[in-house]
């Protein structure tokens, strides 16, 4: 309503960091369940964990890490006033998100094709610990997937704002916050990948 809206970039970043804490805690609940159920069914978890596809997981890890680099570079690019470069890097980040989801789609389809999903006849024949592992796997990676999509939409929105000059080298806190969110998506995957694919 006032003619010069109040602007506080530090406050905006501060708020974003608080929000990221809540996201960590949201996933924290699932990591608690993972820890408790791993302690209860260590052998079943180890067996089930070996069925996850290491190549798929590794490729997705590389894709996400690269996308995090791209989005960080896009922030620097805009700060130095290079809007074209920033847009290209943002496009690359969003493309990586899409690549991640396509990969995830094939990974999940393969699992489901093999009868590995909650409530399937295949799972009914297996030990209960393996069922819990795969349920946790689907819930955790599913929730993470939702965050990838949300993050990509957020970056897409910022892409439009950068393109029409609403976000520029003098006013880029929105881009920074979107990038922070994207780093969080990456960070959570950095914990999911070893816990589900590597250590078991």
């Amino acid at each position: 309503m006032s003619e010069t809206p109040h602007r506080d970039d530090l406050g905006a970043r501060f708020g974003m960091w608080l929000f990221l804490f809540t996201e960590l805690l949201l996933f924290g609940g699932l990591f608690i369940l993972y820890a408790v159920y791993l302690a209860r069914h260590p052998e079943a978890f180890a067996r089930a964990g070996k069925e996850l596809s290491l190549p798929f997981g590794t490729v997705n890890t590389v894709v996400l890490l690269t996308s995090s680099l791209l989005v960080a570079l896009s922030v620097s690019a805009l700060q130095r006033g290079s809007r074209r470069l920033c847009l290209w890097l943002l496009a690359g980040t969003i493309l990586s998100a899409a690549l991640f989801m396509v990969n995830k789609y094939f990974e999940w389809s393969a699992k489901i094709h093999h009868g590995i999903y909650p409530g399937s006849p295949e799972m009914a024949g297996r030990e209960t610990g393996e069922g819990v592992f795969f349920s946790l796997y689907y819930v955790t990676t599913g929730l993470h997937g939702v965050h990838v999509v949300v993050g990509a939409l957020l970056l897409g929105w910022v892409f439009v704002l950068v393109k029409n000059g609403r976000v520029d080298s003098g006013n880029h806190v929105l881009l920074e916050n979107a990038a922070l969110y994207w780093h969080l998506v990456d960070l959570i995957w950095i914990f999911i990948f070893p816990l589900y694919y590597l250590i078991l």
Binding site: M1, S2, D8, F14, E23, R40, E127, G131, Y138
Partner: protein, 544 residues
């Protein structure tokens, strides 16, 4: 602080309430980002849901007036107490004081024009409103009203055919709203304090909102993920809480109470803040132990996050876990008592005036002390096993929630609403309503504690005839309390619409909200204030 600019409080100046300052009609409210309008939106919604909750509660008490089926059967009774709990906890107590009075008062008390993220603030209210409508919608759709109790315990919440899914989703949305409010308040308090408003000059209400906001941010996501899993259990059968499929229902209880016990402090900390602000003003003395009250709030928030296990003493934890949770529970009592002693010390040798806000604030201290001490009976594992899931528990938490937070909510209404409407209610009628409520409250809930000690379990629509007399007395108490509430609301409504002009500072407060006109102008302060004294320095503020 500069002297009150009398020129701004001319009669007829409607401040932020003036229809000309916002979009016309309803849109000027539901799409306004003015913190004062959002605060009033919250006030209207939480009060409406409070009245719904009260009516449900009165029906519950009416059913219990005599043994056997009196007005409703078992299934309806289950739905009644579930809804009473969900409505009162998620739609009234949790958003109540922070949503309504936090929004109304916080920016003005720290000398800011608005909260840090006004649009996010509006989104919070919308999430709350949509969640509340969905919660009500769960009554009339799907398999009928939820019958699990507000705690949604598995396995029953996963197996029941009633409309738990929608109710759970509604609570998820309301939780999101709570997180965004907390995030907004923390950022506001850090970033938007006026020049001179150091941390030591924050009103204690702000300190309490600050500690509450941290609990909201840190605990609510755990409820979020727990509810998401319950939804997935119901929709996809993931089996994470199903022992037949390797899960563990006790893990639900842990995750649920990791949020829901700290949530108790989301409910009561702002109430303590209200009381800490009111007692000095009506004693004409600075708050005794300012820093002790401020930091005990943080201590309650911190220690309160580690005591969730005391809800599960009979769920089958190890003895060691029971011992640790019991000890931690007793530790929370220390900062709570620190507050009570500091309030009492503030009263000592003060020039006390018993206006309605003060009466409700003192009632808070008394009822909260009774409720808090009975909490220790539940916190020690040995006695808890005896009274677990009895009406003693129901009496206990109504003393701390209703006697505590509810009374503080009424105190805040009587203290701050004249500021935001610019009009004063009838104090004598308010005092009369208070007296009725005080008597009715104690008759209603103290008898509950007694009948609970005799062994009457909670959540049954029927009981053996030995419990009849006490239940009858309790139900009569609920009518007295209900009558008091009716008078309170009617009196407030009439006063705020048609009462005498209240003036900028009806109570002689020294914090910033009393330096602006009533109702405050849209921008709160014509120019950013310079703060030169603390919130309770009545002498420096020129009031003494």
């Amino acid at each position: 602080m500069t002297p009150t600019p009398d020129t701004l409080s001319q009669s007829g100046d409607r401040g932020f309430l003036d229809p000309a300052v916002a979009a016309p009609g309803l849109f000027g409210w539901i799409f306004s980002t003015d913190h004062k309008r959002i605060g009033l939106l919250y006030l209207y919604s939480v009060t409406a849901f409070f009245i719904v909750g009260v009516l449900l509660g009165l029906l519950i008490r009416l059913e219990l007036i005599a043994p056997g089926e009196t007005i409703v059967g078992a299934q309806t009774y289950n739905a009644l107490f579930t809804l009473h709990g969900v409505v009162m906890i998620f739609l009234f107590i949790i958003p109540g004081i922070p949503g309504a009075f936090g929004n109304l008062v916080l920016p003005i008390q720290i000398g800011a024009g608005d909260v840090a993220f006004p649009r996010l603030n509006l989104l919070s209210w919308w999430l709350y409103a949509v969640g509340a409508l969905l919660a009500l919608g769960s009554l009339f759709s799907g398999g009928g009203p939820p019958d699990t109790g507000w705690t949604f315990y598995v396995p029953f919440s996963v197996q029941t055919t009633t409309n738990v899914s929608l109710a759970v989703f509604a609570v998820f949305l309301i939780g999101f709203s709570s997180i965004l409010t907390g995030l907004n308040f923390i950022t506001t308090i850090h970033r938007l304090r006026a020049p001179g408003m150091g941390w030591g000059r924050l009103p204690l209400f702000i300190w309490s909102l600050y500690s509450t906001a941290w609990v909201q941010i840190l605990a609510t996501p755990i409820l979020g993920i727990t509810l998401v899993i319950v939804l997935l259990e119901r929709l996809l059968g993931t089996g994470l809480f199903d022992p037949a499929r390797g899960g563990d229902p006790i893990m639900f209880q842990h995750l649920f109470w990791i949020y829901s016990h700290p949530a108790v402090y989301i409910m009561v900390l702002p109430a303590m803040g209200v009381v800490s602000d009111i007692i000095p003003v009506f004693s004409r003395k600075p708050a005794f132990g300012y820093w002790a009250i401020a930091f005990s709030g943080i201590a309650i928030a911190a220690a309160g996050s580690l005591v969730w296990g005391h809800h599960m003493f009979t769920s089958g934890m190890s003895d060691m876990a029971v011992l640790v949770f019991s000890l931690l529970t007793f530790i929370v009592a220390i900062p709570s008592a620190v507050k009570v002693f500091n309030w009492v010390a503030t009263l000592y040798k003060g020039a006390i005036s018993l206006d309605p806000p003060m009466l409700f604030a003192l009632t808070f201290v008394f009822l909260f002390a009774v409720g808090g001490l009975s909490g220790l009976i539940l916190g020690s594992a040995g006695t808890d096993v005896h009274v677990h899931d009895t009406h003693f528990v129901v009496g206990h938490f109504h003393y701390v929630m209703f006697g505590g937070t509810g009374m503080a909510f009424f105190a805040a209404m009587h203290y701050w609403l004249p500021k935001f409407y610019g009009r004063m209610y009838n104090k004598r009628i308010a005092t009369f309503a208070w007296a009725l409520m005080f008597v009715g409250f104690n008759v209603l809930y103290f008898t509950m504690k007694l009948v609970g000690l005799k062994g009457m379990p909670r959540r049954y629509y029927d009981y053996v005839s030995e419990f009849h007399t006490l239940n009858l007395i309790s139900t009569v108490g609920s009518w007295v309390l209900g009558l008091g509430l009716l008078i309170l609301f009617v009196n407030l409504f009439r006063g705020l619409m048609r009462g005498e002009p209240a003036g900028p500072n009806p109570w002689g407060g020294a914090s910033l909200e009393w330096t602006v006109p009533s109702p405050p102008p849209v921008e709160n302060f014509p120019e950013p204030p310079r703060v030169t004294h603390g919130p309770y320095d009545f002498r420096e503020a020129g009031i003494l």
